[in-house]
Amino acid sequence: MSTVSLAQFHQVFFEESLEGLDVMEAALLALDQGGDAELVHRIFRAAHSIKGGAATFGFPDMAAFTHEAESLLDELRDGRRATDKPIVELLLRTVDCLRGMFDRAQTGQPLADAQSDELRQQLAATVGRTVVAPAGKAAGKSAATSGWVIQFRPHPGMLAGGNDPLRLLRELGELGQLTVEAQLDRLPALDALDPSECHLAWRIELVGAATHEAIAAVFEWVEGECDLSIEPMAQVVTPQPASVVEAVAAPVVQNVAAKAAAGSNDSGSVRVGIDKIDGLIDLVGELVITQAMLDQFREDFDPSRIALLQQGLAQLARHTRTLQENVMGIRMLPIGSVFNRFPRLVRDLTQKLGKQVKLDMIGEHTELDKTVLEKIGDPLVHLVRNAIDHGLEMPDKRRAAGKNETGTLRLEAFHRGGSIVVEIVDDGAGLNRDAIVAKALQKGLIQSAEGLSDDTVNELIFQPGFSTAATTTDLSGRGVGMDVVRRNVTDLGGSVAIKSRLGFGTTFTITLPLTLAIIDGLSAAVGEECYIVPLVSIVESVQLRADAVRSVVGGGELFRFRNEYLPIVRLHEQFGCPGAKQKIEDGLVIVVEADTGRVGLFIDGLIGQQQAVVKSLEANYRRVEGISGATILADGSVALIIDVAGLVRMQSRRKAA
């Protein structure tokens, strides 16, 4: 019973603890730069919460592990030990290890592994080296015994603190086999008995390979509220660290089923600021008032009050729009949650490569749709890693070039129009045009570099197949998987641009839509049907004369647009729409652009511009090629949204066939 009831809090515990780990990591990194005592306190508090939570929610090995880290932090906090690089390094590894533990806890695997075991010993050893600890206790910490005798005598007032001895005993029971003997010597006569006090004491024999700290962790919350002694059993001692793992693994396995049940609803959750919720409640209140006001007109409609009706409708429209914005806002999270991982990444990379890099982060509070946020992390990591690995030079090279030895990497997020822009700016070596051109010629991507602008050359690094491991060194390395970065971003409806000056650095600009849930689109009529074309992919719409279209072998049609020939996709043919216009001069050609190319879409005409709330077709049906989703029009009917990239792909495949 108790496991089940606790399991429902596991997810919250995991989320909070992972946040705590982020706090620890950020503070440790700041400490590495020479921080103050408050940082140590913050780290300590985070570790302490995790330890307490882990013990409460039935992760004894996590609690034990964190306990070691906490001991070390305690020394730092008391100033008994100086914070130096190796210590920070050790604690950072502890944070990583704990993250691993949480990952495993979420999937119900045993928490401890060889790495955590080794790290735990290392922590214990670090603590033990300087601290004058009671010899017996220190030995008990790392060694396991075959059993313990625990004398547990709660103070009479312990119950008032909300601590239940029964729960403690139950937790102990998860560590091994218990023999519990209640001691009644303090039990008063019935007429003197105060039922709100605890008069019992227990002598507990615990058989099993539990560690001293695992037992101590059980009693952690009643420290000071009881007399407690934990002694090894008489027939001690098999100091085998390996058995620790087995012992702690056993109770975890029992919890797997409960965890799996709890973890099955992994639909994800969003933490929403209370102010956002309050805003929504206010707004709904306003809506109700407006609705009540409009309701009056049902009973008593008088033409003289038409102005009031108009006013009410206007109010309704305004509230609905604000409500829509606010509800969308719930899905918006600050980009800082993605940026947070970079200080660590930069630190690790620069240490490994022997470079000096200063990381500036601006605009962490810029908010992005949760879906976009989850998917933008990897491309950003890729770009940052590239910038440090290949963009920024070694200190001596920088000095030779007359630059500051410490390179600067700037991550900046801000709003521009209806989009979010994320810039990754480094002041490194920049892209080497000659090397790119050489590589592109070799790969057959271009025939000659003549007449190509620098921007066009830089664009080449986004070409699939451009990048190979061999290019990384001779080209300041950009291009490793850059096509993947671009594809990830375009999948989100965004774009990546690059600016670079040789010797002065490189800027990547990622433009992302604010949200994936609503798009701006033009509604296009094709026969009797209506399709939505996303505004971002529309370049221009043109009306063509019949003689502007060239037919080519195989049935394709081309038309000249500025300086290029674009294929015409007749939407009514592609989608089989009945009753559409056939002659090119009767309809309209919209030039649309995807990262894979441009085409002209032939449609009957444009109906108008509108915002479309994107709905999934796949939820109840399946994916349809050339269609990215559906939306609901003002009259309640459904219109399909065109997937421009998909259409371009279909077109090029038809060309190939």
Binding site: R487, E529, Y621, S637
Partner: protein, 168 residues
């Protein structure tokens, strides 16, 4: 739960619908809603029996014509033509039938296997038949109406997309 409707023998309630002079039963627990026929938005590249999608309070729901699904000829949609919204395995879809008629309690031991002949319908979509007096009711296996072929098509489509991405 279903037992509360019967006298001890396990019974299931079926919504019966009419289609081309025959009566079909749909497990009532799968039925979400019955609505009059409204026109739908056609989807490209869909099999012929998928008429299109409609807006069910914000959800995009595909609609199949049960006549076409069973290889019958398409009738004109009339005043009695209805769309029955069904939910199977978390997915919603609508089926268009000539009319809805009744709700029946069918006891498990009155369900007989479908003989492999005699009806205009591919027996694959039926899970049995039962008779109420003179009437014969064919019990539809709602799970199979949009599947499995469609699931395969879905997989194939997704694979095709995946392949393209891998190539690109």
């Amino acid at each position: 739960m279903s037992q509360s409707f019967s006298d001890g023998n396990a019974a299931t309630q079926y919504l019966t619908v009419n289609l081309a002079d025959e009566e079909y039963g749909i497990d009532i627990l799968a039925v979400r809603e019955i609505r009059g026929w409204t026109s739908v938005t056609r989807i490209p590249q869909a099999p012929g029996y998928v008429l299109g999608v409609l807006n069910l309070r914000g959800a995009i729901v595909p609609v199949l014509d049960l006549r076409l699904r069973f290889g019958l000829s398409r009738e004109e949609y009339t005043g009695t033509t209805v769309t029955v919204i069904i939910t199977v395995a978390g997915r919603l879809f609508g089926i268009v039938v000539d009319a809805v008629s009744d709700v029946l309690d069918v006891e498990e031991n009155n369900v007989r296997p479908v003989p492999d002949m005699g009806t205009a319908v591919d027996t694959e979509y039926l899970k049995g038949l039962t008779s109420i007096g003179e009437r014969m009711v064919l019990l539809l296996d709602a799970d199979k109406l949009l599947q499995p072929q469609d699931a395969q098509m879905l997989d194939a489509a997704l694979n095709a997309v995946g392949d393209e991405k891998a190539v690109a």
